[in-house]
Structures are given as C-alpha cells and as structure tokens.
C-alpha cells in the first residue's frame, strides 16, 4: 500500500477526529454494479471494518461456497435482504480517514426504489454513481444522475467499475466517460469526476491501479478526501427558521427569551438588523448563545439560540432574515415533487406539509407534468403522479411558507408532504418558486 491513507494507524486517525470535517455522500447503482462490494472495499481499506465483522462475512461467504470474500455482505443489514440478496432500504455507513469523516447513504438501485435514492441524496454533498464497464451507461445510471441533479447534490462521481473484466481497456473507459459527459450537459452537475475502478480487486479505490497507467486522475478515496464542500453552503442570505422558544422561567434567568434553531443560510452576528417573518417586524440581534457561551457569529449548520433586542412576538415556524434580504412569504408553491406511496398524487388532494419548522396544509392545484427520469421527457398529459414518479406540481398552502428556490437553498427550498390520515411521509418537494 503506497497511499499514505492506509499507512496511518487508527490511533493517528483518532488523534485528528476532533477537528476533521464531514462529507456525506450517497451511493447508487444496481445490484450487479458492485456497489456493496465497493462500499465494503472502502470500509476495509480505510480499516473501518472490525475483526468480528470481517470474520462473520468470511464465514458466510465460505458457507455459500464463494471463491472470494463477498464484501457486499458487510452492508446488507436486514435479514430479509440477506435472504433475497438485495438491498431494500437506505443504510447509513461510517468511516473516517485522517482528514475526513464520511457518512455514506447507501441506496438501492432498483427501479421501484427511487424514493430511497431521493432520501439518500437529500442530505448528500456528493453522489457516487456506479456503472459496470461491460454494460456501459444504462437507463438506471442515467436515472441516478438525474435524481442527484434534481436533488442538487453539488458533486458527482461516476465510478466505472469492473475494469478488471474488460482488461483495463482505456477505450472502454473513454467511451463511457464521453457518453456520460454528453448526457450530463442536460443536468445541473457543477462538478463531475469519472474514475475507472475495480471494487473487487481494489484498483483506484484507495490505491492507485498499476493496471491502468493511462489514468492520471485521483483514486476514489483521494477524491472523497479532497473534494471541496465548504463553499457549497449559502453564507450570504441569512435564513434562521425559529424552531423552539427557550424561556427558562427560573429566578436566575427570569427575563431570558431566546429563539433556538439551526442556521439555514448566511452569517448572523450580534447587532445585525433583522426582520421576523411573516409578521415583518424588525429588531436587532442582541446576542447569540451556544449553550453557556456567547458567540460572535453563527453560520450553517450551527444550532444556536438567538436573542433579539426588542420584545417582538416570535414563535416556532417564524423565520429570522435580514431586512433587505428576506424570502417572500408565499401560499402558492411551484415545486418538483417525488411521490413515495402507492396511492397516486392527484389534483384537489389535500395533504399536510412540513417546510423548515413550519407545518401547514396543502392543496394540490395542478400537476403540470411528469418527468421521465430516464429520458428527461416531460409528459404533460399526465393527471397524476404514481409511486416513485417525479413531477412538477402547483400547491396552495393554508399559511404562507417562507421559502427560497431549492437551487438557492436546500433547507429553505425543500418540504415533505404527509398523508393526514396515515401520518406517513408520502412526498418530497423541491421548490422552483413561490409567488
């Protein structure tokens, strides 16, 4: 192992845990693309797998009569999945290298599980799409890229896997690279990297492949460790959804009144003039508390408590923004919706909606089109959205939402739809605009 990542002991990794940063990434690929094997490989080569876990997997592989240790068994969690040999839900995996901690949202790739992929991608900084070098791009890999793009995952890696099975042929890699790059021009993918790998043998996963001297780009792990994500958050437009009003009502803190929440955008500082929405009342930030400490600025994704100078009426669901830079309260919402339940979404349907810390009811006014995630074709004849379908929907809400376009802010631009009878989350929305 020449890569320095693997030469460090876990103790040295631990040493740096305190200050390392975080990368959340979502993986997508079909059962046969070797996704679980790749994740197993990342965990194994970053020494994140423990002896007993590896032993269990080796024993199972042996009892099934495999010639090699099936690393996929490391991530197939639930018994029903192990029996069927497929991954049925989003699983979260963790590993760390000296510079970063990684959270993987491992999502299944089958047609019917778009909702899981949307779920995994919603919190991801990076999306990892796998293709089998022998097959090239499939309908499914295109669909994965479309979903990652819709969810505004800012970085995308296309891993061309199983290069060992095509004799590490550069021409095959180049052809897939070109085809995908061409396809990606139709999407919103600010950063794309295409890496030829063999998850099974480890080529270009953590260590550079000696079989592909023609490839000069980073290994997958190197890219994951170094991709720049700090600038992906909006640090300009102040958005602070009020989550919880902190009122101690104790003798010691008799007059304390603070607004707890997670900063969704911008940088808040004491002294800033702010507006509270939807009331439109203005005040100044008196102080920002992080537990028992006063801090001088708060930025995403910090959870803080903000105090205001004036005794204005503020409650959960309100939003604190800047006087000259605030979202427009809106009851008419235009959004892309991913539908996640069997019973289709239809016009006139009423649903509960949760946006930031605000809950309301929503009426489906119109379904403008259904997006074919394989071809990007817009089907305007549709009158409903079925399970795992994505479409453009107009909603009318009972109270104004304090929203931004999803392309500007993934927190203030997203919402979930809830079936009022069952209480189940049935839809995920990405706002185009409010008017």
């Amino acid at each position: 192992m020449s890569d320095q990542t693997t030469d460090l002991t876990k103790a040295e990794v631990a040493e740096q845990t305190r200050n390392m940063d975080l990368l959340r990434f979502a993986t997508a690929g079909s059962v046969d693309d070797g996704k679980s094997t790749l994740i197993g490989r990342l965990l194994l080569d970053s020494k994140s797998i423990f002896e007993d876990q590896l032993e269990a997997v080796e024993a199972t592989s042996q009892s099934k009569g495999y010639d090699y240790t099936d690393l996929a068994l490391l991530t197939d969690g639930l018994r029903s999945e192990r029996e069927q040999g497929i991954t049925i839900d989003v699983a979260y995996r963790y590993f760390a290298t000296p510079s970063r901690k990684f959270i993987i949202a491992d999502t299944p790739g089958h047609v019917q599980y778009t909702r899981n992929m949307v779920t995994g991608a919603s919190t991801a900084d990076l999306g990892l799409v796998l293709v089998d070098a022998r097959q090239g791009l499939t309908e499914q890999s295109r669909r994965h890229a479309v979903i990652l793009s819709l969810l505004r995952v800012p970085h995308l890696v296309l891993a061309v896997n199983k290069m060992d099975l095509v004799d590490f042929d550069e021409a095959i890699y180049e052809r897939i690279h070109a085809e995908f790059t061409q396809f990606a021009t139709k999407l919103n993918i600010p950063d794309l990297v295409v890496i030829p790998i063999s998850a099974l043998q480890g080529d270009n996963v953590v260590t550079r492949s000696e079989n592909m001297p023609w490839y000069s780009g980073p290994t997958l792990m190197h890219h994951l460790e170094h991709v720049h994500v700090a600038s992906d958050r909006d640090l300009v437009d102040v958005r602070f959804p009020v989550q919880y009003v902190v009122r101690p009502k104790s003798d010691e803190h008799h007059d304390y009144r603070g607004y707890g929440g997670m900063v969704a955008g911008g940088v808040l500082k004491p002294g800033d003039e702010v507006v509270v929405l939807p009331s439109g009342m203005t005040s100044k930030i008196a102080g920002i508390d992080l537990f028992d400490r006063e801090i001088t600025e708060a930025f995403p994704p910090m959870s803080v408590t903000v105090r205001l100078e004036d005794d204005v009426d503020v409650s959960r669901g309100d939003m604190i923004a800047r006087v000259n830079n605030a979202p427009k309260p809106s009851q008419d919402i235009d959004a892309m919706v991913c539908w996640m339940t069997n019973e289709p979404l239809r016009p006139r349907q009423k649903l509960a909606i949760k946006h930031t810390t605000r809950s309301a009811r929503a009426l489906v006014k119109d379904i403008q089109y259904r997006l074919d995630v394989n071809t990007l074709h817009r089907d305007q004849d549709t009158k409903e959205l079925g399970l795992n379908e994505i479409g453009r929907v107009q909603l009318r809400t009972t109270v104004p939402l304090l929203c931004d376009p999803y392309s500007k802010n993934r927190t203030t631009g997203s919402f979930i739809l809830i079936d009022e009878a069952t209480g189940v989350t049935v839809g995920a929305g990405m706002i185009n605009s409010g008017s």
């Binding site: 979260y92 919190t123 919880y244 537990f291 959870s303 209480g423 989350t425």
Partner: protein, 304 residues
C-alpha cells in the same frame, strides 16, 4: 463579504452536535409528551449533555426514564443520580423486578434481563403516556441499526417494522403518530463510538467509573470476562481472579463483559478504542451474540 468560506467551517464533531440539538428541539416542540431513556451508559450520557445544551438556560423539558434491570452496576446508578440532580431533571425508574412481580413480564430463568427490559420499558412508556422516547442508539453499532431512521415509528405494540419505515429527507422529521403509538427518537444516529469518546473528552463530563481501568474480581465465561457478583453464580470449572479491566459498554452485569485494559483516562480510552479490532457489541455483549439477527429481532419487538 470580507470573510472567506474557509472561516465558516464546522468540525465534524460540531456538525454532529448541531444536528443532535436540532433533533432534541424538534421533538420537544412537536411532541406532547417526550421522555429521555437513560441507561447510564456513555451514549445516554452524551444524550443528557446534548439535551442540556439544546434547552439551556432552561431545564430539559422532559423527564428521564431508566429501566432498572435489578442487575445494574452500582457505579452506573451513582453516575445517573449525579446527572439527574445536576440537571434538575425528573427521574422515572421502571423496574424489571417489579414488572416480573406484577406479571408484566415473565422471568423463566433463561431469558436475559436485557430481553425482559423490553416488556418493562413498553409498559412504562404506556403507563406514562409518552409519545416520544429518546434513545442513544447509533447506526454504526450494528447492521440493523444502520437502516433505522432518526424518528423510528412504533405501532401500538411498540414494534418496529423495517419495511414500513417512513422516508426521512433533509432535516425534515415527520412526527405524526396515532393514538397509542409512539416514536423512538435517535438523536445520535450519526455518531460513531469514537465520536462519543471525543465528545466526552472535549466536554469533560462525568461517566460511570467502570469505563476506566480498575481492579476487579472477574471470571471467564464463553470467552467473556464477567464480574463476580451474587447475581452471577459460578458454574463448574469457573474460577475468579483479580484483573485490571474496564467496561466498554454497560448493561446487565450478568451479561456485560469487561476487557483487560490499563486505560484510566479518556485519552487512553480513545487510543484503545481507535486501535480496537472488535466492535464493542461483539466483544462484550452476550445478548447480541445469540444469533446474527439477534438485534433485528429484539428491535422488532420493541427494544431500544
């Protein structure tokens, strides 16, 4: 804009803390009657700390529930009492012994206390009318947990259905439940064992003394080192000897093994954890070793 993006970088530990605080506040705002399940273990102590931070300077707006197996380490109960009194929280103790006496659960002499906790816990949640119960589960602990949501829905029997989980997107949590159902909430889902230790070290908070290296009279059973205790009668061939040990998890003392260790400070524990080659549950929890799918089964029944 004078500040550059690089100035506004949050370390992963701070990001985890912020996410957990967000979850605590969300639950306190949306649920009628939350409760914090407290085992006295390191994970639930981190939970207490996060709850303290989420609502400061107000007190935590929900009670603390502990399931007393009757086989708890006295050091753990002492630590629990210190925490509860420092935070001024209300403590509810649900006793497995009492549940057995009341016929809520049946002790057949073969079932572990950990398993008897399930019935005791569900009964306590029902009696208290709690609609949300915070637990200290982490997704890195075990394969079944890796797929569990932060908000984990439980039906009126307290059961978890892994195939009927609600999708969980962005940081938008869906807390809707029907009468008689409740939600398990896992605010530290994304923390790893190492994160927990770094956080305890950084915050300088009290944990039970048995986590640190100490002299203890122990005996070996099924490859585990168990503590000498009246609850743990020796079987033939087992002999007690004094060793330098510490516990990596705390639970029912008849089933929780210790490891030989000289680690008597948080930093030494972190070094030890970082080079450990066996997961904490696999090493020291007899109750998870009965079958590969043991945890999945217990979760479906209503385990933490």
């Amino acid at each position: 804009m004078t500040a550059t993006h690089a100035d506004y970088r949050l370390s992963q530990l701070d990001q985890l803390e912020a996410e957990s605080i967000h979850i605590f506040r969300e639950v306190a705002a949306e649920f009628e009657k939350p409760v914090l399940m407290f085992s006295g273990g390191k994970d639930s102590i981190v939970m207490m700390r996060l709850a303290e931070k989420a609502f400061y300077p107000a007190k935590i707006p929900f009670p603390v529930l502990q399931v007393d197996t009757g086989y708890d380490f006295p050091e753990v109960l002492a630590c629990r009492d210190n925490w509860v009194s420092r935070l001024g929280a209300r403590l509810i103790v649900a006793s497995v012994e009492e549940a057995i006496a009341d016929g809520v659960v049946i002790d057949d002499g073969k079932t572990s206390r950990n398993r008897l906790q399930i019935g005791t816990l569900l009964n306590a949640l029902e009696e208290g009318g709690f609609t949300a119960a915070f637990g200290g589960g982490r997704r890195d602990e075990e394969k079944a947990r890796a797929k569990e949501r932060v908000y984990s829905h439980r039906d009126e029997f307290g059961q978890w259905d892994p195939k009927m989980q609600r999708p969980e997107l962005w940081s938008l949590y869906n807390g809707r439940i029907h009468e008689g159902e409740h939600m398990r909430i896992f605010p530290i889902s994304n923390w790893t064992e190492l994160d927990i230790w770094h956080y305890i070290g950084r915050e300088g908070i009290e944990i039970p003394s048995i986590y640190f290296s100490h002299q203890r009279r122990v005996f070996e059973r099924d490859g585990m080192l168990l503590t000498e205790s009246d609850y743990n009668p020796l079987r033939s061939g087992e002999t007690v000897e004094e060793r330098t040990v510490r516990f990596r998890t705390v639970g029912d003392l008849t089933l929780t093994g210790c490891v030989e260790s000289e680690a008597d400070t948080i930093d030494k524990i972190i070094d030890e954890v970082a080079i450990a080659r066996v997961t904490e549950r696999g090493a020291t929890r007899g109750d998870d070793r009965f079958s590969e799918a043991a945890m999945e089964d217990r979760k479906k029944e209503g385990y933490f």
